[in-house]
Each structure stands twice: as structure tokens, then as C-alpha cells.
């Protein structure tokens, strides 16, 4: 049976039936201009996000995985238009977010929020917890002084913080507690979609487990859709229903989490998975055979011709340098962009 080809990145959204899609990303691009010379003329683009597409079913979690510099955080911010995307389409709950005007976007922000990576720097050190949590309500002019206060009390309970913390400053809290405040703030207006940008990377592993628990509870209780960005594959394995592996701004492999983890098809995914320092023999058994990515990540300004990964790929062969490989269907709900699957 010939491998079914989907040459367009945009077609990857078909992994999720249209009716189930809460979030759809099509051909998302974010380029940063490189300017040189006295007149600061643009000489090239850094293609931080280079044609990314995927869809997330309602109430589920899409894990966007990759090493630092692959563009996953930029993708997250572009999706929420915290940074303006260069091109592409983002549809959340049926609304085309990329088409909204600034004021429409502002109102729509109630539906989509972000939880940031560093709990210490994402909270204003000069504001008390209560003030931090009521920020969204104040910005969107929701509720009264009294009702906001009640809401803060409610939120503190939802995220598992004692009520007294309402009046403390962030610097008195531990990393995990600070992150809970960030989460309380993010869910204060009952959003439908949350982008979680490495929300536990700055936390200890024992704290991480509890925050992950909290995220799961919240998802279940409020039917939230998550885009979970991380570099930690084992963590993603535990939280994501779907996964997209990113390298140099592109998704190189995408599909249902079990499928991608049990049968990774792109050499980069295999390299990442096989490099995990595991603790159990079962984990060790699940890991793919050792694949080493040679050398270092190339300068994003000078991406290799053809497949972006080819300069580091141990399985590289002739065709790889011709042009960007299309997406091949490598499993029932699983695609990879690699000529090995021609």
C-alpha cells in the first residue's frame, strides 16, 4: 500500500475531524528580520516558526515538543497574538483570531490565556497576590470590588492555595505556589483555551507532579483545551493526547501521543527519545534504539537545503538535500516529514 502523502502542512489539521476541533492552526509562520548595515536593511529572515499546522480537539491536550530554539515558545505566543504572526491562520472556538482587530482581539482574550514558564518573573513583584489575580477582571471591567474579591477566594481554593496568601507578595512564595497564582490568574475569566509555555520547567520534580495534577483537574472540571509546550518528552508523554515534535521551526512529526512515542518515525524524534535518561527497565525497553544527532543545531539563518535535519541525521541519504520532504502518513493518526517513508 503506497504511503499516503499530504504534501501540505495545512492538511495536518485533518488529523482531527472538523467538528471536534477547538483550536485550528494553519500554516502559521513567524519570521524575524535580520537587519544589517548602517541603514538597517533586511538581509534575511529568521524563520522561527516556519509553516506549522495542527488542530486540537476540544478538552484535549496537544503537546508541542522540541529543544530550545526550535520555535515552540514563539509558536505559542504567535497563536495568542502576543507576538503578531507573519502569516497563517489561528481559529479558536470558531473565531478566526488572526483576523480580529486589536479591540476585538482584546475582548476575545478572555477566552484564551497563557501560563508562563518562569513563575518568578511572570508575577509583578510589587503587587500582592490578590491584585495579580484580579488583573484580568479589572482589565475587562468585570464584576464589582466585592464580587472580584469573592472570585479571588474561589480561585485560590481551586488552585490549592490558602486564603491568607491573598495579601502576600510573590517573593514570599515558593516556585510551586507562584505558579499556582499564575494559573489562578489565567483561569479567572473562564477561558476555553490555555497555552501552557513550559509551565513546570522551572519547578522541582515533586512540585511539577502536583502542578500537572492541578492542570488535569482543571481540564476536567472546566473542559479546557491545552497547548502544552515543553522540552521534556517524558512529561509530555504523561500530559498530552496529541504531540507535535518541532525542529527549526517546523513540525517534523505529529500524531496521537501513544503512536508517536511507541513508534517514532522521524530520526530526530528517535534521537530525542533515545537520549532520555530513564530509571526503569520498562522505560528503557520502550525507548527506541539509540540514534545520535550529530553536531550542533545549525544557525536558523542558514537552514540546510532540503530537509532541515539532514546535517545532523545519521540516516541521511541522497534525496534529503533536494527539497523539504512532504508529510507522509506513517500510522493511522501519525505523520512524519522524512524521505525514509517515501
Amino acid at each position: 500500500m503506497a504511503a499516503e502523502m499530504h504534501p501540505e502542512s495545512g492538511d495536518l489539521v485533518s488529523l482531527v475531524p472538523a467538528a471536534d476541533r477547538a483550536v485550528t492552526i494553519r500554516n502559521l509562520r513567524k519570521y524575524f528580520p535580520v537587519r544589517e548595515g548602517v541603514l538597517q536593511r533586511k538581509v534575511a529572515d529568521i524563520r522561527a516558526v516556519d509553516d506549522v499546522s495542527f488542530a486540537i480537539p476540544e478538552g484535549e491536550t496537544f503537546g508541542l515538543v522540541g529543544e530550545s530554539g526550535c520555535g515552540k515558545t514563539t509558536a505559542g505566543k504567535s497563536i495568542l497574538r502576543i507576538q503578531e504572526p507573519t502569516a497563517g491562520e489561528v481559529i479558536v472556538d470558531g473565531t478566526n483570531v488572526t483576523d480580529l482587530s486589536r479591540s476585538e482581539l482584546r475582548a476575545f482574550r478572555r477566552k484564551m490565556q497563557m501560563v508562563f514558564q518562569d513563575p518568578t518573573s511572570s508575577l509583578n513583584p510589587r503587587k500582592r497576590v490578590r491584585s495579580i489575580i484580579t488583573d484580568p477582571m479589572e482589565i475587562h471591567d468585570i464584576g464589582t470590588e466585592e464580587s472580584r474579591r469573592e472570585r479571588v477566594a474561589e480561585l485560590l481554593e481551586i488552585v490549592g492555595l490558602p486564603q491568607e496568601y491573598m495579601y502576600t507578595y510573590p517573593n514570599a512564595l515558593s516556585g510551586g505556589q507562584k505558579q499556582r497564582v499564575g494559573i489562578a490568574r489565567a483561569v479567572s475569566l473562564n477561558p476555553d483555551f490555555l497555552v501552557l509555555d513550559e509551565p513546570t520547567s522551572a519547578l522541582d520534580v515533586s512540585v511539577q507532579a502536583r502542578i500537572v495534577d492541578l492542570f488535569e483537574d482543571l481540564q476536567e472540571t472546566f473542559d479546557l483545551t491545552y497547548l502544552f509546550i515543553s522540552h521534556d518528552l517524558s512529561l509530555i508523554r504523561n500530559v498530552a493526547d496529541w504531540i507535535g515534535v518541532m525542529y527549526l521551526g517546523k513540525i517534523v512529526e505529529i500524531g496521537r501521543a501513544e503512536s508517536v512515542f511507541r513508534e517514532p518515525q522521524h530520526p530526530y524524534t528517535q534521537a530525542l527519545l533515545s537520549a532520555i535518561a530513564t530509571l526503569d527497565p520498562e522505560d528503557e525497553a520502550i525507548k527506541p534504539e539509540r540514534v545520535r544527532a550529530e553536531g550542533e543545531v545549525p544557525d536558523p539563518r542558514n537552514k540546510p537545503t532540503g530537509c532541515d535535519f539532514r546535517t545532523r541525521c545519521p540516516k541521511e541519504f541522497g534525496t534529503c538535500s533536494s527539497e523539504d520532504p512532504p508529510y507522509y502518513r506513517v500510522g493511522e493518526e501519525h505523520f512524519a516529514t522524512c524521505y525514509l517513508h517515501e
Binding site: L80, I82, L105, R106, A107, R109, R110, Q113, M114, F116, Q117, D118, T120, S121, S122, L123, N124, P125, R126, K127, D135, P136, I139, H140, Y169, N171, A172, G182, R185
Partner: protein, 283 residues
């Protein structure tokens, strides 16, 4: 509350700033209670007592008398009011104009920012005293006009300071978080950025107090500013200028008063800077 307690403890541990605070409190006390403390309240109104003129310091006149027989000590006490008033008014205007401009320039950036900063640069290019002089010379020499003149020269320093601070605070994640929630630039710059920029403003303001008083004294020394018989310290120095070797007390004591005040504010400012430094790096 916690922060205030901690600040108090830390400040009180620093001897020099305690000394500075003590000095300032003395001056403020003197300024407020001058009418009560001054042995010769009429020394201010300018009634000459020619029979007592140019007397050297004695038990009756702690700091001697000037050419009109007025008690210098009393005049210095009243002069404190002028100095403090000048400091407060000038800085209030300077901060009131300079800080919001710096906030907007730093946070909004772009064309508004560039325009504001270039205008600021123009003002900064002129030495403060010269600028103040130029303005004061254009208008009637009164105390208020002197203060306005000095404010003209002062606000750009705050704009530049705040602009610099804002540019770095702007990159913090909590600012990004605020923007991602839909906050507009006005809210972000005043409610999120400003509280984080207060520290250097406070330090600068306390150090500036001394400097403003100096400039005010310079203006009145030059005859621009408070008119006689107002006992501004600078004017008092001017009056004694020709007699430094003979009736030395006429210039010396006002000079010492200025030094004392400026030193006090400098020590406080240094102490505050240390205080805020630790605060920032602790967390």
C-alpha cells in the same frame, strides 16, 4: 507592612543613613518651628537694627548679625523653610512632568518615544544652572519663578532615568502577561511598570533635594530668586561675600547650613540606594 518593617530594620542598621535622616529631620524641624525657635523673629522682616550691626557671634547672637543688624541665626532658621520648600516644589514639578514622560517614552516607544527623548536630550544638553538662570532672567525675580526655572532644568533627568528603567522592565515576563490579558498601554505603564521603577526615582529624588537646594542658593546668590529681605541662604552668602575675611560669619553660617542640608540628603539617598539594591537582588 512586611516590606516597611524590613526596610526600617535595614535602614536603621546603616549608620550613615541614620545620621543623614537625623540631619534632615533636624532641618525639617527647624523649618517648621522656626517662628518658635528663632530668638529674633523680626530678623526676617528686615527691620534694621543699626546699633547691632555686624556683631560677631556671641551669647546674644549665636551666629552674629549682618550689616543691618539682623540676627543671622534666626535668619538661617527661617531660611530652612525656603530651602525645603524649594526642594519639594521643584522636585514635585520635575517628577510630575518627567516621570510620566519617561514612562510613556520607554513603554510605548516608537515615534512618541523618540520625539520625547530627543526633546529631553535638548534640555539635558544645557547645564542645569545655566538653564535655570536663563529662565529666571526672563521673568521677575521671585521665589516662585526661581522654582519654576529650576524645574525646567530638572525634569529631563527623570525622564531619562525612567525611560532607561522602563526599557528593561518592559522585557519582564509579567509585563508580557499583562499585555496578553488585554491590558492597554496606559494601564501597563502606570500600574505594572511604574511600581517597579519607583525605587531608583526615590533614590534620585533624595539625592536631588540637596542639589536643588544648592542650585536655588546659587540663583539667589546671583540675585535671581527670592528678593530681600527673604532670608534665603544663597542670598545671605551673597550679602556677606565681600566680608569673608572680616565679618566671616555672614557667609560662613549660611554656607554651613547649605552643606549640612545637602550632606543629610546625600546620606539618606545613599542609604536608600543600598536598601533598594538589596531588595532587588534578594528575590
Amino acid at each position: 507592612m512586611e516590606q516597611a518593617k524590613r526596610a526600617y530594620r535595614r535602614l536603621s542598621g546603616n549608620t550613615l543613613s541614620v545620621v543623614g535622616i537625623g540631619m534632615i529631620l533636624t532641618i525639617v524641624f527647624v523649618a517648621i518651628f522656626a517662628p518658635v525657635i528663632a530668638p529674633y523673629p523680626d530678623a526676617v522682616t528686615g527691620e534694621p537694627h543699626f546699633d547691632e550691626k555686624t556683631e560677631s557671634p556671641s551669647a546674644d547672637h549665636l551666629m552674629g548679625t549682618d550689616r543691618l543688624g539682623r540676627d543671622i541665626f534666626s535668619r538661617i532658621l527661617y531660611g530652612a523653610r525656603i530651602s525645603i520648600l524649594m526642594g519639594i516644589v521643584v522636585l514635585s514639578i520635575a517628577i510630575g512632568i518627567g516621570v510620566p514622560l519617561g514612562l510613556v517614552a520607554g513603554y510605548v516607544g516608537g515615534w512618541p518615544g523618540t520625539v520625547i527623548m530627543r526633546i529631553t536630550d535638548v534640555f539635558l544638553a544645557v547645564p542645569p544652572i545655566i538653564l535655570a538662570l536663563a529662565v529666571a532672567a526672563l521673568v521677575e525675580p521671585t521665589l516662585w519663578n526661581a522654582m519654576i526655572a529650576i524645574s525646567f532644568a530638572w525634569w529631563p533627568w527623570y525622564t531619562r532615568l525612567v525611560n532607561g528603567e522602563v526599557v528593561s522592565v518592559k522585557e519582564e515576563e509579567f509585563i508580557e502577561a499583562s499585555e496578553s490579558m488585554g491590558a492597554g498601554w496606559l494601564r501597563v505603564s502606570f500600574k505594572e511598570v511604574l511600581p517597579n521603577v519607583i525605587a531608583p526615582i526615590t533614590v534620585k529624588a533624595s539625592l536631588d533635594m540637596g542639589f536643588v537646594i544648592l542650585v536655588g542658593a546659587a540663583l539667589s546668590f546671583l540675585g535671581l530668586g527670592a528678593t530681600p529681605p527673604t532670608p534665603s541662604w544663597g542670598a545671605m552668602i551673597a550679602q556677606g561675600r565681600d566680608y569673608v575675611t572680616s565679618f566671616w560669619w555672614m557667609s560662613t553660617f549660611p554656607g554651613l547650613a547649605i552643606s549640612f542640608t545637602v550632606l543629610g540628603f546625600n546620606l539618606l539617598g545613599d542609604g536608600l540606594r543600598d536598601l533598594f539594591d538589596v531588595d532587588v537582588t534578594r528575590y
